[in-house]
């Protein structure tokens, strides 16, 4: 009798989850609704449909809220600020349940190493894996291995080509578009800009650049890109590159777009040292604490902020939801994606990012 009741409850849960999934998917297609004063609502999450075609079921024996649960967080580099903020978010969310433990594994930017770590975690019988993939193709086989072993893989920011439990992502293409519009409007549709790129081939950098260029070319044809070179996400490299840009183009530069805040900060310092603070518009992306302080100080103009801690918490909630259901995530034919709302921050609304939101 108890067994029958358990099966009925499980079925009910699965049906309600599926319903929630489609409801969320429907809601997610609406434009992002940010409650910060100058938040940009142009971005949307069109791709955010959590298709779970070919949904299968699996009998989970553990209760994730009561039984001992072991989770792993595998970022691309544990020493990066975003990775730490995501990790803190996951840890904070999981810490509500004393039966859970979270261990961090650092592949130090090496995709092969990351794939090996995932295989080891499968062998060690982890209950769930949080992953920021270095290379979607290299990691696909390992992620499949984990999913087939009944270990849901929830990716943060970048998933794999192989479907997996979920992807909780920042906006990148949309963020690039938003920044292009902000710069384009500030320049009145005419001017010259330079770009400080991410490491060549980095997926987030490519998407930011594509989003930025798509808007620039279609909506601001009179804005010229003078130069676009990589500084490998690195602050001092960006500072040196900006110094070179300033030497080469001098007063011609009206604005700078950097693929992350660290590089925007480097550019800001170079511009400040050249005595041109305030003359050149500088935009970054991510929303880390120092960038927000630099916006307050007028060293850089703005950034697209993402609440990384909240992103980590969201990933943890999704993980717990799957583990508390009988959904077999290895049967997914498409990865369900949820995107964090991008908040466009400049001097007018930077104070709305309160200290507890900063990372």
């Amino acid at each position: 009798m108890k067994k029958l009741a358990a099966i009925l409850v499980s079925l009910l849960l699965v049906v309600s989850l599926a319903a929630c999934g489609s409801a969320n998917a429907a809601n997610d297609t609406k434009p992002a609704n940010n409650d910060t004063p100058a938040a940009d609502t142009n971005t949307n999450t069109d791709n955010n449909t959590a298709t779970t075609g070919g949904l299968g079921f699996v009998e989970r024996t553990k209760n994730p809220y009561e039984d001992e649960m072991k989770f792993a967080w595998v970022p691309t580099r544990a020493s990066e600020a975003n990775a730490t903020a995501w990790g803190n978010g996951i840890r904070e969310e999981l810490s509500y349940w004393s039966n859970t433990t979270l261990n961090v594994f650092d592949p130090e930017g090496d995709a092969e190493q990351e794939a090996k770590i995932i295989s080891d975690l499968v062998a060690q019988g982890y209950d769930g894996i949080f992953l920021q993939t270095i290379n979607p193709d290299v990691l696909s086989a390992s992620v499949r291995e984990a999913e087939e072993a009944g270990i849901p893989v929830v990716c943060i920011n970048m998933g794999t080509t192989e479907p997996h439990a979920a992807l909780v992502s920042m906006t990148d293409f949309e963020a690039g578009q938003v920044i292009a519009r902000r710069i384009g409007d500030a320049l009145g549709g005419e001017g010259k800009i330079v770009i400080i790129e991410a490491t060549v081939g980095a997926a987030r950098g490519v998407k930011l650049q594509d989003g930025f260029m798509s808007v620039l070319q279609s909506e601001y044809p009179n804005i010229e890109v003078l130069d676009s070179q990589p500084a490998d996400w690195n602050m001092e490299k960006a500072q040196n590159l900006m110094n070179d840009y300033l030497t080469k183009y001098g007063d011609e530069i009206d604005a700078v777009f950097a693929h992350n805040d660290q590089m925007a900060e480097g550019a800001g310092m170079a511009v400040q040292n050249a005595g041109k603070s305030g003359d050149i518009i500088i935009w970054g992306a991510n929303g880390e604490t120092k960038a927000l302080e630099y916006i307050e100080q007028g060293i850089i103009t703005g950034t697209v902020y993402t609440n990384c801690k909240e992103q980590g918490k969201t990933a943890a909630r999704i993980m717990m939801l799957y583990l508390n259901s009988n959904i077999d995530t290895s049967t997914f034919t498409k990865t369900p994606v949820t995107k964090m709302p991008p908040i466009t921050v400049d001097a007018s609304n930077v104070s709305s990012i309160t200290p507890d939101m900063r990372w």
């Binding site: 990066e80 600020a81 990589p230 001092e236 110094n243 070179d244 030497t247 480097g266 302080e293």
Partner: protein, 337 residues
């Protein structure tokens, strides 16, 4: 070329050093290619600034290489020092004595690291490459512990703001710090007994010991200097960035070693000079800067940098008696004659 021109010390120095020659050729090329922008005062300052951190590290790492060793922990020492300084200031405040304590602890960590490496390497027959490769990871592990993998922001520290932002005669402070370090290393290596002992032990440790040179002490001091310079570079880097991170200065040791090798310092020890090692750093800095000014797409940058470095090293080897390239050069000149 007339004899008077040939005997001019500047001309002699240029012709005698392949690195200076390559630097000059590159400078002329980039000046033409960038329509003069390359050879402006502002740009030369940019180049100096871009090599300043690597330059400081070279002033320490060069000692280890001259001894036939290697110190890959310069980056780990830099990261640890920067993290300790930033964390101490964050916890204690930006008052003068707190900043002094922070710098003392940061640089002290580098000295301690150098002391440990020096003690191990001078007493045990462990390859320096393997030891420092492993301990660099340990140091980065400490950095992660100190920073908890978060960015440590330093706000309101007058000294660090000064180092990171102020310029004298339009030249950033880190450049002056690098020049002071070069002067220090130059004097130590060329005008002290210890400097001669470094070359002697690097050339042949056994015979040096037989002639009374305290090889262990020489090695110990060399790694302490290297640790100190790495830590100093880390403090300067944190001042430039106004923050410290767990991944700070990662892989800088590769650039440092590349510059030292390009500078003609023998990896077997005993020969080379700090001036040439610094020239090696400038060579790499000039290539980087010149290509940025020319707007060379990044995909070609590393390739071009590698090829130019190979050319510089090959030209250097061709001038060293006994090397296969030198033999080839002699055979070719004989044939031509």
């Amino acid at each position: 070329m007339s004899n008077s021109v040939k005997n001019n010390p500047v001309v002699k120095a240029i012709l005698g050093s392949s690195r200076i020659l390559v630097l000059l050729i590159l400078a002329v090329f980039f000046t033409i290619a960038t329509k003069g922008t390359f050879f402006s005062y502002k740009n030369l300052v940019n180049i100096l600034y871009s090599v300043s951190l690597i330059g400081i590290m070279i002033c320490g790492a060069c000692f280890a290489v001259l001894l036939g060793g290697i110190d890959r922990t310069v980056s780990g020492n830099a990261a640890l020092s920067g993290a300790i300084v930033a964390m101490t200031i964050l916890n204690k405040g930006v008052g003068g004595s707190n900043v002094a304590l922070a710098i003392f602890l940061g640089l002290g960590a580098g000295v301690l690291s150098g002391l440990i490496h020096g003690l191990i390497l001078s007493r045990f027959n462990i390859p320096a490459f393997l030891l420092t490769l492993a301990t660099n990871e340990v140091l980065y592990g400490f950095v992660q512990l100190v920073t908890s993998n978060t960015l440590i922001y330093v706000n309101g520290c007058t000294l660090m703001d000064y180092i990171g932002q102020v310029r004298w005669l339009g030249i950033p402070i880190p450049v002056y710090i690098m020049l002071a370090c070069i002067l220090f290393a130059y004097i130590i290596l060329n005008h002290t007994v210890y400097g001669r002992q470094v070359y002697s032990v690097g050339g042949n440790r056994q015979s040096s010991e037989l002639s009374g040179v305290p090889a262990r002490k020489v090695i110990l001091i060399a790694y302490i200097i290297s640790g100190f310079m790495g830590a100093l570079a880390g403090f300067v880097l944190s001042s430039m960035n106004q923050q410290a991170s767990a991944g700070q200065a990662k892989n800088y040791e590769n650039n440092v070693l590349a510059a030292i090798v390009v500078g003609g310092v023998s990896m077997r020890g005993g020969s080379g000079s700090i001036q040439n090692a610094i020239l090696g750093a400038f060579l790499i800095g000039v290539i980087e800067n010149g290509m940025n000014l020319m707007g060379v797409p990044s995909i070609y940058k590393d390739m071009a940098k590698g090829i130019i470095i190979i050319v510089a090293v090959a030209m250097d080897m061709a001038n060293q008696p006994g090397t296969p390239l030198n033999n080839l050069k002699r055979r070719l000149s004989k044939k031509a004659a």
